[in-house]
Symmetry: C2
């Protein structure tokens, strides 16, 4: 039991450290220190830093709240907006740091680890497919144009979101995220 709980603490600390520092700047000792565990204990639970990064991505993806996109009851475009407002709140409320782990690993690690690249790809594709379903629903209800290319638009919105978070962190302002909401909901999906 104690061991299972320590694994959980290390896995959670790894997620926090990777989000805060990035992949390469995170040392195993940063993770174990944050978890209050001896450095050597890391390898009782994870084969490598890369293995813990893959689990961190899974944990991060589980927090993406796809249920907010999928649950009927509110109009589809309202759900889509609420989803991104929720996803942006962490970055905007934390002084414009951290951003999205999927995009950060994509920018920093995808070229150098085939396993992480592949996990980021799966994350993007899964996320885009949820956005695609919401857009298809909006299209069926007539809320967006019948001529909208739904798969391309879903992919575009997702990558535009990742770029907006990076630009907001560099600008230390919400202007790029504001421009995302203005253009996606006021122009692309009008």
């Amino acid at each position: 039991m104690a061991r299972a709980s320590k694994r959980e603490e290390i896995a959670q600390a790894a997620l926090e450290q990777f989000r805060t520092r990035g992949f390469n700047a995170t040392g195993i000792s940063d993770i174990t220190s944050a978890a209050g565990a001896p450095k050597g204990s890391f390898y009782n639970h994870f084969a490598s830093k890369e293995a813990s990064a893959l689990e961190a991505l899974d944990r991060y993806a589980a927090g993406l709240r796809f249920d907010m996109l999928d649950t009927a009851g509110r109009p589809p475009l309202e759900r889509l907006r609420a989803h991104f407002e929720f996803m942006g709140s962490d970055t905007l409320d934390s002084g414009f740091v951290r951003g999205c782990l999927v995009g950060n690993f994509g920018a920093e690690v995808a070229d150098h680890s085939e396993e992480i690249r592949s996990a980021v790809q799966r994350g993007f594709r899964q996320w885009a497919s949820h956005i695609e379903r919401v857009l298809a629903e909006a299209q069926e209800s007539g809320a967006v144009s019948a001529s909208l290319d739904v798969p391309a638009t879903a992919l575009f919105i997702l990558s535009a979101w990742e770029g907006a978070l990076i630009a907001a962190r560099a600008d230390k302002s919400s202007a790029p995220v504001d421009a995302f909401f203005h253009t996606v909901f006021g122009v692309v999906l009008r």
Copy 2:
């Protein structure tokens, strides 16, 4: 003379290494090896890895070919499209690696180095202002809607571009970049 030339080689090698490996995974010895210089010589020319990263950003920005955006003669939206086609060719032709140094440093380093964050911010702002001028010209000529919010759209297009490059690297496909061109030129600026 020899010394000035060695500085140039080290500065250029630093740009290549940062683009290929990212900031944290690049060691001083990676830079000096690539430049064919002894490791200690780095510090004859740069105070720190951060200082060479700032110069790498300047060198990268000088290659952004803002002249392609500014030079009249072709219709403004054609210039904008040619600019992004040119910017994407390196990533698309190199097997979907490297991406854009401004966005990569934004994702990886902006939270941790105030100097690099501020340089990324200046890079984004300078780039957005060139895009803004092209859009204003397109708006004056009637090529885009008079109701388009030009500053927000310029900022949005730039961050969408950064996200598209990251997603293309993760996906090892041009689909996110194709979706960028489709949506920006077919929907946002139609």
